[in-house]
Symmetry: C2
Subunit: 199 residues, 2 copies
């Protein structure tokens, strides 16, 4: 029947959009209707961008971030300080660190964090290849810059254990009061940490 097919194509699009993180059935419907009704050009662009990224984007052999080359931009930059390796969760975190201009070493991007509930342990994270990366003989300090959430802290803890056993110096980003904040609006756990780590 012709219409059964029709239902299926639109439904297939809605179903595919639902696989995006944070998109439920209502949003997926709204997105599908919007694309088909108001932004067919955007839909084409998205289909092409998906295809292009799938074909070309893979992981950097050294730092595991997304790249189209074998070795990414930052890892091939010989002016960077090979003695420091900063471990982060995502390319977005890397971009944030780069924007600060406060760090000139190399990175290792975990592409996630330990999450026992989702079955993601240190080996799923490529934590072992991270440790190997840290032991290239040049790295003197590994800076753990995973999130300050329960999962990020657990990830940092596990990595720190593994690295310390290998005799590498391991540091963690400082915890404290964010710049520009008024103390009365800062959560108590942050203030407590800032008090302990005062200098």
């Amino acid at each position: 029947m012709v219409t059964a097919v029709s239902q299926t194509r639109l439904d297939a699009l809605i179903e595919a959009l639902r696989r995006l993180p944070g998109v439920g059935v209502k949003s997926a419907q709204r997105m599908a209707f919007h694309l088909l009704q108001h932004d067919r050009e955007g839909a084409e662009q998205l289909a092409e961008a998906l295809g292009g990224a799938l074909r070309a984007v893979h992981h950097c052999e050294r730092c595991h971030t997304f790249t189209e080359a074998a070795i990414c931009d930052i890892c091939s930059d010989e002016s960077r300080d090979a003695r420091q390796l900063c471990v982060i969760e995502s390319p977005a975190d890397q971009a944030a660190l780069e924007r600060t201009g406060s760090y000139h070493g190399f990175y290792y991007v975990l592409m996630g964090r330990i999450s026992p509930l989702d079955g993601i342990g240190i080996s799923e994270l490529g934590g072992l290849s991270m440790v190997q990366r840290a032991l290239d003989g040049k790295v003197e300090e590994v800076i753990l810059a995973t999130s300050f959430t329960a999962e990020g802290e657990a990830t940092a803890h596990v990595l720190a254990e593994g690295l310390k056993a290998q005799g590498v110096r391991v540091t963690r980003l400082a915890r404290g009061v964010p710049a520009g904040s008024e103390l009365e609006y800062v959560d108590l756990s942050t203030i407590a940490h800032a008090m302990v780590d005062r200098r």
Copy 2:
């Protein structure tokens, strides 16, 4: 430079995802990383679904809803009551009405609503072809089932004016207290409407 290209493919994907309604730069980033890292199959599926829908899905010649045939399922159903035409904003509204089982006439899907701020007037909505559809000689009653928001009400008002001038009977969905609600939690405007329309 190789890496400049790499940046561009990932950025192109993030940019394309941002065109989805309700998706900002952070969500688009999260979606792109998720697809590339954890759900490449989902990304392929989405690219294919977009392509398939773009190629095959267009508007029904009679009711303007999405279909792959010239005339959609409902419009080709001869068992339906040709004397009633229900005007709604979207295929999702149509699906909701169909699920109630309380309506057996035909539909006209506006695919939007009047929104002066976005430059959408009655002609952009295909309101004129809607009026034509209503004047096929068989339609006796047009039921306006646009949303009960300011924009939906404006749309209903404009369509009602046009249709009444042609001598077609025009009705609107009843406004009132939703089933299952306790009066104290219903907003005052709804209660006021329910009081006026009491029966």
